[in-house]
Symmetry: D2
Subunit: 346 residues, 4 copies
């Protein structure tokens, strides 16, 4: 049994992670930590888990003292909050899977520019693995000390565009990403705009051309294309709980039909059960509460532009599910163990 600890267990990503760990047959939960709720039962915070997950939440300090008892530490914290906690775990030889942003960028400068926080552990930042399993070498994930779990927008977007970049089918100067996310992406913190009466029946683009996920999308796109890429990225908040739809626009440099591109995508992802290439319009409902990423492609022949639409559940494939997937790779388990299919249509 893998012994796991979770810090940040009461956010939306955290609770999804706890749920998945609870039902993972190779995992034993050693501690669940939450500063806001330490001392409370988990089922007092998430009342649905009454009689199911009644663990008492511990503080970060108490969690730190239990680092010796665990094989893997999951962190699901706002940016900046994991920097030290990860370092301490690595120093103790504990494997880390960080759902937050603190170890995703390779460059200290980029991190500090986008996040406006100093990062004292430059070498650890470099060493950490941006672990989007479908696009990375699994051996490298297995050997890493710190797994930086990709962000939700980047996951949908990178899986959507990777084959085109790898095969150099598109002009890399005009890539536009227009992504739509449900409200859980903004977390469980209480802000007025997230109130039901404010958020329902409303849609808005926010942080236009300035969202922090731009940095990791560009970093990974650049690696895929083997050249420096800058994109325009617009996130949009839509009135639903879960799900991301990323619509990606690029100018085609080649001449292929939709059908040909779909075949190329199927071939590209043939080893990856969680990526499904669809002929129909993809929709978030089809992947809700699962670890799937559904992708389809359309070509605008009139402008020779390709439009890729890619959908994930932001909390599963975009956070906790992907973290489990990474844990499975790390510990050499079946990649889909515990995340095979976890929910239904409505």
């Amino acid at each position: 049994m893998i012994k796991a600890g979770v810090i940040g267990a009461t956010g939306y990503a955290g609770q999804q992670l706890v749920y998945l760990l609870k039902y993972h047959k190779e995992v034993e939960i050693i501690f669940l930590s939450s500063n806001s709720y330490s001392g409370k039962k988990y089922s007092d915070v998430y009342t649905n888990y009454y009689g199911i997950i009644d663990n008492v939440l511990v503080s970060t300090e108490e969690a730190l003292e239990k680092y010796d008892e665990i094989d893997v530490l999951f962190l699901a914290l706002p940016h900046g909050k994991s920097i030290e906690l990860v370092k301490k775990a690595v120093d103790k030889g504990v494997k880390v899977i960080d759902l937050g942003a603190d170890y995703r960028l390779d460059s200290k400068e980029e991190f500090e520019k986008w996040y406006q926080i100093e990062h004292p552990y430059e070498s650890l930042l470099k060493e950490s693995e941006y672990a989007l399993v479908e696009l990375k070498d699994k051996e490298s994930i297995k050997n890493s000390k710190v797994i930086a779990n990709p962000g939700c927008y980047p996951t949908a977007t990178l899986l959507g565009i990777a084959p085109l970049l790898k095969k150099k089918f598109i002009d890399t100067k005009n890539i536009i990403v227009d992504a739509k996310s449900g409200i859980s992406g903004a977390g469980r913190g209480i802000d007025i705009y997230k109130l039901y009466c404010e958020a329902t029946e409303n849609v808005k683009a926010y942080k236009v051309a300035s969202h922090r996920h731009t940095a990791e999308i560009e970093q990974e796109m650049s690696k895929l294309a083997n050249k420096d890429i800058k994109i325009t990225f617009t996130p949009t908040l839509i009135p639903m709980s879960r799900g991301i739809l990323s619509t990606i626009y690029a100018n085609l440099k080649i001449n292929k039909t939709k059908q040909e591109l779909l075949e190329i995508y199927k071939e590209f992802y043939k080893e990856n059960k969680f990526v499904r290439i669809r002929e129909i319009d993809v929709q978030t409902k089809d992947v809700k509460r699962t670890n799937y990423c559904d992708i389809t492609i359309n070509i605008d022949n009139r402008t020779n532009r390709v439009i890729i639409t890619s959908v994930i559940d932001n909390i599963v494939k975009g956070a906790a599910g992907q973290a489990i997937q990474n844990m499975n790779v790390l510990f050499d388990l079946e990649e889909n163990m515990g995340i095979e299919n976890i929910s239904i249509y409505i």
Copy 2:
């Protein structure tokens, strides 16, 4: 008093129109027509209007017989259904405001290509006025026999991009429009994907690179820029009743700050009360159930791209409200009479 008839009174645009006409102080409703519900009281179809709008709905045939009694005919029908009804009204000297698509395109060939229906009245098609008040000559609207009320996506998009096209600030080869619409845009017809349990908690792009509104957007953009423009247009269905957010991407040819562009927009629309240039992120909630179009601008300095976001209520400014606005212009009333501000925050 202006005597008005409405054909297609029981769709979502139709019912909004009927509501606005009912409370317009210069209008008398002569007939409300609906083939699906003819013979029924209006308040049996929309039960909220009980004791308020109890008119009995007439069939199209009965409506035709009443053409002599009206000054203006509104049509709110699916495409293809208005072609003949408009012609008959024009022949009787009745002014027409068509909320549908049948007289929006200037070219018979373009109409037939996009709609796959023959259009027998080529000269009337040419004569009809694509009446987006803020971008057109009001005299020309006043003198037209057939007012083609712009589509919902085109209204938000054209108002958003017009100043940039007029001033030739952008490269016209790389315009991308990613628009999001509430479900009422798909009408009141019953389809399984519109059921509450199917539509809630879901988002999808549809008719990617093939939506019919592309034709009118391109037609009007081309006029604004005085050159032939092709765009890529992606509509996206989001889980709410009303509202459109159009996000428009273009490459800047000039060097201006956000603030400078906002000033240029304010100047451009200074005579138009219904267009509000905002410094904050625009959101559909701010225009819901009103005739406003809120617009803001962002610049991605890293890519020298401009991102315009423009929001309207698809049923008001994108349909019935705009139709009233056109009627007001046509009959030389205050432009905002009856549509000044018709609703509230939540």
Copy 3:
């Protein structure tokens, strides 16, 4: 012109009130007050009002200094917060319409028992008018110094049951009220249970047998029946923004058909435009954003029980609309001025 001030202008009831006052042709707004947002423009708090209501919000202290300039003061505050502010206005000879609970109960003891706050103005409490226009003497409203605007649940419930109580058709020992409310009823304060992701797709009964509105429902029912009545009242929170459905159960003492009872109700409310007796199932959609109360009646012949269903918009008829209605009565205007019909189906 009636000169009006509003304290508590930025809650949900407050903003609805401000909207209605803004468009009321006999009212001039002198000040809008909000402690949370004083110094800010109204349109910075409710961004939809940009260019429409740009008044700068004043603090309570500043509001107090302007009491001399107004004819009527509206308060829309949480319970306990209006007690002193009302007294001061009365002392200055300003008419008061209080949307809160502080002057609704006749008895100091009852108030203190239910609200756990001391009420120092017993005589003013007694004098104040519980002003549910349809059930009260208008002369008495006109002459009152303090109009206590009824609560949302009580409004729907009392209008629903009044004829049965007046006519002594029911056993007063077994009245059960099961009411359902949208989330705006809980106000704009930020609590975790009101977050979109928490509140959507959820329903719960709360404050079962202990909700404070029980006190005013019983007080007014007792007056109607001319005997002491105790009820069981259960409020239920449902995932929508606006609307209340009150389902009222009572044992019939007489033998009447549904049709006979509907006729009796129609007769009872024949002078009241805002109460509509319906033959169909009533639904909140039919009254949303209006000042109507729709009521229907069913009889369970198998148990000889009557089931009344009554719907209102909790923020309009249940708060701000009713406050305007009371103002209209107070100043001898048309009762429905400015609240005639303020919105549409979807």
Copy 4:
């Protein structure tokens, strides 16, 4: 492995059942049948199951031919549609679990009165088992040929009130049930009132005092109390996909505190993992997509009335989950196999 067939596999209850059977480790699906979609792949109807459940749907006729190959037949059809199909299965010695209403009532007369359909198989109707596991003898379920799976409203209601009836704590003359259901309870058939724009932001009581579930609630309550019981039952439609909250009112004949009653309930259900007695307000969110029934109790001391609130997921515990539970009992498996806990908070 248990060989199972499903008729009515494409309704909302059907798809939930198919999902649960797919992941049940002791079940092999032999056929999925749907008249509306026969010939199509299951994943073409529910596109989320692409690559997961790609079985081709068969017609009812084809299903009938496969009766020999199965151990158990599930039916999830509208009322009246299962009568013959069940009989044919019984004649072939196939065990039947019917999620519909056709075999729930014991009395042919009652069935024909409430459903207005003739029932030709009176003895089979009598023999069939109304299988609410928590309230029935498991041996009796094991030995029955036809398991009538209880309706959604009755499940929540009967579990909520059973202990009080068994212990004779309440007056059986004044039981009122006010139940609230999400829209999936009305099925996947397309009706205008179920459209997103119609159903969202709306609540209404329907079939007041005439809903067919009244018959089975009364039948089973009468058995529990060992006397004839008539209730008043009001279903209410609320704007969400899933979930039922049943609020039950009764006059107490005894003197107990809330705490004492909670203890009695805990004792009553101590062998039943799926019933959770809660001290907090129950909410549908806590049981969504699970087989749990959460119950709490409040006492209105002022009127000596008890108010029980009971929540289930209408499609799981109220339909497909309970059907699996019954299958597990029937085939002597762990009662919670495959339905232990199937989903998460948001």
